[in-house]
């Protein structure tokens, strides 16, 4: 496939997914309602730390929405095709499956940015907190890198859930551990020291670092550069792992002679 053709597929998959997701109550809950409820809880629970905690909560609860959507929507982006009976057609077309899944995941993660908008609106309009982002330019770059790294993470989950349904049984259990290990709403310093290496291999941790830092201060390049570099590096690693998983998926489907992979 040429690059323009690939881009076209990504855009079409993105557009279709956005249209479908906008009418899915479960996704709306994960993207808007749950992050807002987590924001309400956090604003009350962390409120004693002063007004400056509000932007921390907005970003943390927003990131929780991004991650929830990665786990449940991106993770199910192949299994959902199986449910609707379109997987066979999708695998049969000349376009590689991972290109379509990338477009879908991009839609899910971009749509999840609504979590931050919802939390911002809640904290600002209803709770009346003054909210400012100290380094808007770096913040926007951090958002873009975060989106890409979340998409790449989703690219690993989608084939993994299909190859091994037992992993998907633990899908619900993937939500809170990352909220904790990535330090969305409290620093990982509260956790035992042995958990830190796990945090470091999760791109959501570096996304949270970058977004929290840029919203609170004007960080030096060294401080912010580490988070950006980590997100880029981890995204590359996630893509390599996902390529392996997509190949495994394809081989398994052919060996078992069951395109719906069950």
């Amino acid at each position: 496939m040429t690059i323009p053709q690939t881009l076209h597929v990504v855009i079409v998959a993105f557009e279709m997914t956005i249209k479908q997701a906008m009418t899915d109550a479960f996704i709306i809950f994960g993207v808007i309602v749950q992050p807002m409820m987590i924001a309400i809880l956090a604003l009350y629970m962390l409120g004693e730390r002063g007004d400056e905690i509000a932007i921390f909560v907005v970003i943390g609860s927003g990131l929780s929405g991004l991650w929830t959507n990665v786990v449940f929507s991106s993770g199910n982006s192949i299994t959902s095709e199986r449910r609707t009976g379109t997987l066979e057609a999708l695998v049969g077309i000349p376009t590689p499956l991972h290109v379509v899944v990338f477009g879908k995941n991009l839609a899910f993660v971009v749509q999840s940015l609504l979590s931050m908008v919802a939390s911002y609106t809640l904290a600002s309009l209803i709770f009346g907190y003054p909210l400012t982002v100290e380094s808007p330019f770096q913040f926007i770059i951090s958002i873009i890198l975060s989106v890409l790294s979340f998409v790449c993470f989703g690219l690993m989950l989608a084939p993994l859930f299909v190859i091994n349904p037992d992993v998907q049984r633990w899908q619900n259990g993937l939500e809170y551990p990352v909220f904790i290990l990535a330090g969305f709403l409290f620093p990982i310093a509260l956790l035992p020291i042995w958990t830190s290496p796990i945090s470091y291999i999760l791109s959501p941790y570096w996304a949270a670092q970058a977004l929290h830092i840029t919203s609170h201060a004007q960080p030096g390049f060294q401080q912010l550069g580490l988070s950006w570099l980590a997100m880029i590096s981890l995204s590359v690693i996630y893509i390599l792992i996902s390529r392996f998983l997509f190949r495994r998926l394809s081989v398994k489907a052919r060996m078992d002679a069951t395109l719906n992979l069950q």
Binding site: F29, R169, W170
Partner: protein, 266 residues
């Protein structure tokens, strides 16, 4: 007498079968994930956030609150799915067609969830003791168990009401998840009810769990059960009100379904 025996039999059969069908017991991993591991993460998340917010003084407040909320995993999700599952599996018309006693059939759905909900709380508290230094040395464990039983019952009452509502919506998960998070905010599990706005407090006190969580915290801190009996009586009554409401909704939807010839209700 014969009718009583038949209804009792129906009650326990309905309780057992709806529960077995729900959790796919042949796969213990499903149960472990839902009831043992996932609750740990939820308790950890909210407790650590609470510790960060309060400067590290109140872990037990959050551990107890979130452990008690676990009754809602059974009470809300379990019971609701037991009822709405009939629609998904296409068995609702048969259920409406059977001459079985409706009250027995309806309440039977909740029985095992009450006890399984209690197990969930015990697991949650055990995590609290093992990992978050929850101190139960002042606690009369039997009294705590009674509070957990009453709270599990009242949450199941809410689940029966939501289960009936789920028969007229296609977005069951949206309703359930919103209710669950609503309880995390309003029940006092994570935010002391006194901190909420006055009109929200009224909602809090009309929900199950609120008094149960308060009582559990009190018993853990060594306050005798006798001082908490009025609260627990009200908790029990709230559960009954929701269960009765659920039953009336169930029968009303059944009537509408039969009247309009829409046997799967919508």
């Amino acid at each position: 007498m014969k009718t009583l025996i038949r209804n009792t039999q129906l009650f326990f059969q309905s309780a057992y079968l709806s529960y077995v069908a729900l959790f796919h017991w042949l796969r213990p991993a499903q149960y472990l994930a839902t009831k043992v591991v996932n609750p740990l993460w939820q308790i950890m998340f909210f407790t650590l956030m609470g510790i960060y917010g309060s400067g590290g003084e109140s872990a037990s407040f959050y551990v107890i609150g979130n452990a008690l909320v676990l009754t809602a995993l059974n009470g809300i999700f379990g019971v609701t799915f037991s009822i709405t599952g009939e629609r998904w599996t296409g068995t609702l018309p048969y259920l409406f067609g059977t001459p079985a006693n409706r009250l027995t059939l309806f309440l039977g759905r909740s029985l095992i969830h009450i006890f399984d909900g209690m197990i969930g709380v015990v697991i949650g508290l055990t995590w609290g003791v093992l990992l978050l230094n929850l101190d139960l040395s002042q606690t009369n464990l039997l009294e705590l168990l009674l509070i957990i039983l009453i709270t599990s019952f009242s949450t199941t009452g809410l689940g029966l009401a939501l289960g009936s509502l789920s028969l007229v919506t296609r977005n069951v998960m949206f309703v359930n998840n919103t209710a669950y998070f609503g309880l995390l905010i309003l029940s006092g599990a994570n935010i002391a009810v006194e901190k909420l706005p006055a009109f929200i407090q009224k909602i809090s006190y009309s929900l199950p769990l609120t008094r149960g969580i308060y009582s559990a915290r009190a018993v853990v801190s060594g306050i005798p059960l006798s001082e908490l009996l009025p609260l627990l009586g009200t908790e029990l009554a709230i559960g009954m009100i929701y269960a009765i409401l659920g039953y009336f909704l169930f029968t009303a939807f059944e009537y509408q379904a039969k009247k309009h010839g829409t046997l799967d209700v919508i």
